[in-house]
């Protein structure tokens, strides 16, 4: 029986059957399972962030961070516990929340629907990707159960990761599992996008989210194996005694940093692109406008980013030894990538122009995202410039910058997407009073957290210090940041409780509550049944998913 036929027979029967979910090959269920997994990672990683902030509230050792990493007997030092929390926060937020949330949940749920396809090209491999992802979550969570907790941050830089008594293997295996899941997901979706578009749908008729997903998966397929290779060699160095990154034995620790950032900077665009894609979909629908300058955003923006993204990683290593021409060259490419990014941002803003904008909860998050992109983008410019980077590198300015552009913007775009497609997934609306309250808590809380970090970063507050006794003048800023984190935590709890409540008892909605023109709203019910569409989808030559002006 073919995989597609299996999907058709695996109909959603009345009631809930666990086995149907565990062994599902339906892209929508896989998407939802990705969402559950990534939100679980988000909660634990967020808890770590809260612990970090609480530990830094005042100068000196509170030791509270040990409790956050489940070290109740305080068998490890506060500094190590802080590093463990920082490791889990960084690794889980990026590898287990943002990337799987955007390319696992959103791509899985939406891409086949937007393409008019009945499923992805390889449904079973899609399920395997999900299992690998869940295995990665389990391995990552072992961090809190093993006595030698990994404390290598999300970067795993040698020589520390080789010499530390912490369990570097957990970090490596988590990266391996997520990496395999990503590669399998990438090949699956690239084949789906190339070959499974509805009859009549040309490349220029695809949703922007599909385009951005295409870009993100292209990056994944090229760059993930490099990271996988680097961490494998790290594993060999630590446990088999090789010396790939040991300078004393002919190895090169700096090369690890290069290999790591060769993947990890493009990974920023693996997050940024689908996040932008989600924003495009929501803006176009809520403003009832076609995408402004669609082709420039696609070919100048997305393809431009694909071309340049592999040539900018060195800006993470400006303070390491390298030829000046390379440093300057990478400064140019780093600044240059703001051109395709700028094209996408202009296109996003332009889509609002003269639109009949409806500010539902998803749209409110989108507006905040637009502000975050502006702040994150502008604060990225001094970091791209070598002379300024030397002063700002390794300060909390960098910390605040990437939280604005990558952390908050991508997270809020995902929240916006969940609210926007909630009626599609559940047939109910999550846009209620709780959602609005949570929105304000989240927005105000995170702004209170990160603006002080910009200020003290410029004044020299180093990143990744668990204590800052030498900088007592920064204590008030840290206090404000912690208050912000606590407000955010309240917002997150409210928001998730609101989702659960809405999924069970939320207001029922129509099939297409936002009056969208995209296929996932117009050609199927909410939630869609197995096989996605009651009738095979075919689109005309002039059809576009943003056909609002006819």
């Amino acid at each position: 029986m073919s995989a597609i036929a299996e999907i058709e027979t695996a109909t959603v029967k009345s009631g809930f059957r666990l086995s149907e979910w565990v062994f599902t090959t339906d892209h929508k269920r896989i998407g939802i399972l990705y969402l559950i997994g990534s939100m679980a990672a988000f909660l634990v990683a967020g808890l770590m962030a809260l612990g970090i902030r609480i530990e830094q509230t005042a100068i000196g050792e509170s030791g509270l961070i040990n409790y956050f990493v489940l070290d109740f007997s305080r068998s490890i030092s506060t500094g190590t516990a802080y590093n463990v929390a920082l490791y889990f926060h960084g690794a889980a937020m990026i590898l287990a929340f943002l990337i799987p949330g955007l390319t696992g949940f959103a791509a899985n749920y939406l891409v086949p629907l937007m393409l008019g396809a009945r499923d992805v090209a390889f449904p079973r491999i899609n399920a395997l990707s999900l299992w690998l992802f869940w295995a990665a979550i389990v391995v990552a969570l072992l961090t809190f159960l093993v006595p030698d907790k990994p404390d290598v941050l999300w970067t795993g830089y040698p020589p520390y990761s080789i010499t530390t008594p912490g369990n570097t293997a957990l970090y490596v295996f988590t990266v391996h599992l997520i990496g395999f899941a990503s590669i399998l997901g990438a090949v699956n979706f690239l084949v789906t996008i190339i070959y499974m578009r509805a009859p009549g749908m040309g490349w220029n008729q695809m949703n922007m989210f599909v385009w951005t997903t295409f870009g993100a998966f292209m990056i994944q397929i090229v760059f993930v194996p490099v990271l996988a290779a680097a961490v494998t060699l790290l594993l060999f160095d630590k446990y088999l005694g090789t010396g790939f990154f040991d300078a004393a034995r002919g190895g090169d620790p700096l090369l690890y940093q290069n290999l790591f950032w060769f993947y990890s900077h493009p990974a920023v665009y693996v997050i940024f692109l689908p996040a932008m894609g989600l924003l495009y979909e929501i803006v176009a629908t809520q403003a009832k406008n076609p995408i402004f300058n669609y082709k420039a955003a696609v070919y100048g923006g997305i393809i431009g980013i694909l071309v340049i993204t592999g040539e900018v990683w060195v800006h993470h290593l400006y303070i390491a030894g390298m030829p000046d021409w390379l440093r300057i060259g990478m400064m140019v490419t780093t600044l240059l990538i703001s051109v395709p990014v700028g094209l996408m941002v202009i296109s996003l803003w332009g889509t609002l122009y003269k639109g009949a904008i409806t500010y539902n909860i998803a749209m409110r998050y989108v507006v905040v995202c637009m502000f975050l992109i502006l702040v994150g983008g502008l604060t990225g410019i001094p970091l791209a410039i070598t002379s300024l980077n030397l002063h700002l590198s390794e300060t909390s300015f960098v910390h605040a910058h990437f939280h604005f552009i990558m952390g908050l913007m991508a997270t809020y775009s995902l929240f916006a997407a969940i609210y926007f497609w909630f009626p599609k997934m559940t047939g109910r609306s999550a846009d209620d009073g709780i959602a609005k309250l949570a929105f304000w808590c989240n927005v105000l809380g995170t702004q209170l957290t990160f603006w002080p970090l910009f200020i003290i970063g410029v004044e020299g507050m180093p990143r990744r210090y668990w204590d800052y006794a030498m900088y007592p003048q920064f204590q008030p800023y840290h206090k404000v940041a912690t208050i912000g984190a606590l407000i955010t935590a309240v917002g997150i709890v409210l928001m998730m409780a609101g989702w659960i409540h809405a999924a069970i008892r939320g207001r029922k909605t129509s099939t297409n509550p936002w009056k969208s023109r995209s296929l996932e709203w117009t050609n199927t019910e909410s939630p869609p049944g197995p096989g996605n569409f009651p009738k095979p989808v075919q689109v005309g030559k002039d059809w576009t998913p943003y056909d609002y002006h006819r």
């Binding site: 073919s2 090209a121 390889f122 590669i183 990438a186 090949v187 699956n188 690239l190 084949v191 190339i194 070959y195 994944q220 397929i221 090229v222 760059f223 993930v224 194996p225 490099v226 996988a228 290779a229 680097a230 060699l233 010396g243 790939f244 990154f245 300078a247 004393a248 034995r249 002919g250 190895g251 090169d252 090369l255 690890y256 290999l259 060769f262 030894g321 390298m322 030829p323 000046d324 021409w325 390379l326």
Partner: protein, 280 residues
């Protein structure tokens, strides 16, 4: 086969025993006094001295009698051999080995890409001893023009400057020689010690790679190949020479593996779809 008579054996055996006994008895008289050679001096503690430099204003005198400053060597990497010109042992060997290694090194050119300096730490060395030593090396025309043989102008610099870069030497009265490391010291264009190689352990490519290493990543855009070479090899402290940088090659291999996987999946999809269509 000729027969060996018992008389021959009777004469030969006592003669052999006598000879062995005499040799053993005579040995103490001909044995030289135990050398006070300290083996550890023959190594430069690289980890402590990399990045250190001699004073840029140190005056030196070259084989033509011209006085110049160590600073004059800045601007390109410099290979420095510390030796003395009346040495009848390792100094000539180390310099001649360097000559052979430089002949093997085809990518880089002395005088153009790097400087070569042999510098004496013996206060007794003069223009004559310098000239004789240089002549003895039988340099090629090209190297003769670009290899500087020099002595310290100020006697005080002999120890102060060499100590700054971790090079120790002392006179061994028992051996009647200077004991010193037989090393090639590579300096960056700014005069900082960047690498130390030992004559016994290296080949021509190690000299080239050490020169590139001494550039400390500073390459012009036209020197992409040199830059790539400096990335592809890294110095192995344990073995004392350069070896291939495996992680880089593995990383490059990994870079293509994702795309290959993608192409395989496309192929699988097309074959499966064709089979399905034929089946339908």
């Amino acid at each position: 086969m000729p027969r060996i008579g018992w008389k021959c054996v009777a004469f030969a055996l006592p003669a052999l025993l006598l000879a062995l006994g005499a040799a053993d008895a005579a040995t103490p008289y001909f044995r030289r006094a135990p050398s006070d050679l300290n083996a550890s001096i023959l190594q430069i503690d690289e980890k402590s001295f990399l990045g250190r430099s001699m004073d840029a204003e140190t005056p030196l005198i070259d084989h033509t009698g011209r006085t110049f400053l160590w600073r004059d060597m800045f601007g390109k990497p410099t290979i420095l051999v510390l030796a003395y010109y009346t040495c009848d042992g390792s100094c000539a060997v180390v310099n001649m080995a360097l000559l052979d290694l430089l002949k093997q090194a085809k990518r880089l050119q002395a005088g153009v890409d790097f400087n070569v300096v042999t510098l004496s730490f013996d206060r007794h060395d003069t223009l004559e001893t310098t000239g004789a030593f240089r002549k003895h090396l039988d340099l090629t025309r090209e190297l003769a023009a670009n290899w500087t043989f020099a002595t310290f102008s100020n006697e005080a610099d002999l120890t102060t400057q060499t100590e700054k870069i971790g090079f120790k030497f002392f006179w061994s009265p028992a051996d009647r020689i200077f004991l010193h490391p037989g090393a090639y010291l590579f300096f960056s264009p700014e005069g900082k010690l960047a690498r130390v190689l030992y004559q016994q352990e290296i080949e021509g490519k190690d000299i080239e790679l050490a020169v590139l290493d001494a550039r400390q990543g500073q390459f012009a855009p036209r020197e992409v190949i040199n830059f790539a070479l400096s990335l592809c090899y890294s110095y192995n402290y344990q073995d004392g020479h350069y070896s291939l940088n495996m992680p880089l090659l593995i990383g490059l291999g990994a870079l293509t593996s994702g795309l290959v996987t993608f192409l395989v999946f496309i192929l699988v999809f097309k074959i499966t779809r064709r089979k399905r269509l034929i089946g339908a």
